[in-house]
């Protein structure tokens, strides 16, 4: 026998179920209860940078839209700063960078308005390993103890829950007009299969003078979106 480690264990996840809207977006469930629902305004009125809209659909393994999904978004502002005390810098008054996105129950289409985030400074390395990147290491060099990495390309972090999803799925949305930054992004480069990387890249277009990015998420099968264990 050995001594007991007295850590607690994380509470197990359970599916958000079909009625997640009641708790997290009651207006969508069909009733008003709170003074304000959270996560409706991601960037706020004062955020600088380019105003964009992101739209998409979540598709299941049969090729059909998932109509009861809920997505949360988490992003930095145009300067690459998160509204959090551990992100160096300041954000604009009213910028939270977090949103809750629900689908049209008939079509499964979703969309949200925000500002395009800036590149995000990589975190300082942890551990006691080498402080400088060894000469032989490639772009996908991302081990513990590694040296400071370059900036991450602009991205929005997404968390997807729904009936049938037992534990929330984490992914990232990158932008197709950031090809140069994407090519150097340490997370995209971590994906060994180059042909899976485009599943994380939203496609830019313009509609009625507004910038719209398209980002479809495939839960399963051909063209399956890359999901992360964070």
């Amino acid at each position: 026998m050995v001594q007991k480690l007295d850590y607690l264990k994380e509470t197990p996840s359970q599916t958000a179920g079909p009625y997640v809207h009641i708790g997290l977006a009651p207006g969508a469930a069909g009733f008003d209860i709170y003074r304000q629902e959270l996560g409706r305004d991601i960037a706020g009125p004062n955020a600088k940078g380019e105003r964009i809209r992101v739209e998409g659909i979540v598709i299941d393994g049969t090729g059909n839209p998932v109509k009861d999904v809920l997505i949360e978004t988490w992003q930095a502002n145009a300067e690459g700063v998160y509204a959090h005390p551990e992100s160096a810098g300041e954000v604009e008054e009213g910028f939270r960078g977090w949103g809750r996105v629900i689908t049209d129950f008939e079509t499964g289409e979703w969309g949200f308005d925000t500002v395009k985030p800036g590149p995000v400074k990589a975190r300082k390395p942890l551990g006691t390993g080498p402080l400088h990147k060894p000469a032989h290491a490639g772009d996908d060099w991302l081990g513990r103890g590694d040296a400071e990495q370059g900036d991450m390309a602009p991205h929005i972090n997404l968390w997807i829950v729904a009936r049938g999803i037992n534990i929330g799925l984490n992914t990232r949305l990158y932008f197709d007009d950031e090809a140069e930054a994407n090519a150097k992004d340490p997370v995209l480069n971590l994906i060994e299969w180059h042909n899976r990387r485009p599943t994380l890249i939203a496609k830019r277009s313009e509609r009625d003078g507004k910038v719209v990015y398209r980002f479809d998420i495939r839960l399963q099968g051909e063209g399956e979106t890359v999901f992360f264990d964070i």
């Binding site: 197990p12 393994g61 977090w98 037992n166």
Partner: protein, 241 residues
Amino acid sequence: MSQAEFYQRDRERHPAALTPDYKTSVMRSPRAALISLQQSVSEITGPVFGHNDIDPIDNDLIHNYAKDGESAIGERIILHGRVLDENGRPVPNTLVEAWQANAGGRYRHKKDSYLAPIDPNFGGCGRTMTDENGFYFFRTVKPGAYPWRNWVNNWRPAHIHFSLFGTSFSQRLITQCYFEGDPLIAKCPIVKTIPTQDGIDSLIAALDMNATVPLDSIAYKFDIVLRGRRSTLFENRLEGN
């Protein structure tokens, strides 16, 4: 300013994505392996909420949708507990959201057509912030069991859905709270997505007679554990470069 990572998620304790006895998971589960990330600033940060975001009545589901002077129908309960991290430290000032069916097992949702009636005085959702010691509570009615299509005849045990944030996006968690003594727990395919009995037990709120309010409400205690963070013991060394 701390920059330490959170402990890796123990995937052996969480449900797998694909759990065929919970049929909806079959076509909604990724087939490829998750790609493991070393946490960056994007993962160690997350939304911060304050008391301006919510109202004091929001944690009282008996009254937060009821007409003046009226209240929800059902067995009155207090559901209380603490939000802790894996190091056993309280998680203060974090948003806790909850939603549930009414005492008859019916949800107030466009998509719920179960024949049990809507309670006009019950919305079915609440939210609160933990205090400086990680404590939270809700006042509500005990939800009813309800039938659902999985096998021909499945019934969900009485449960309340919980949503938690912690301090970082990597701690984000949705789970469900069950109630001590419910015989439906052991029969539920959603409960049984959890691979360990210990994990299942950790989702069952205990009857807490000490916290009941005599002649008013019975009480259950439900503690929640979020991912812990690497010890500050090593913080100086780790950051000292």
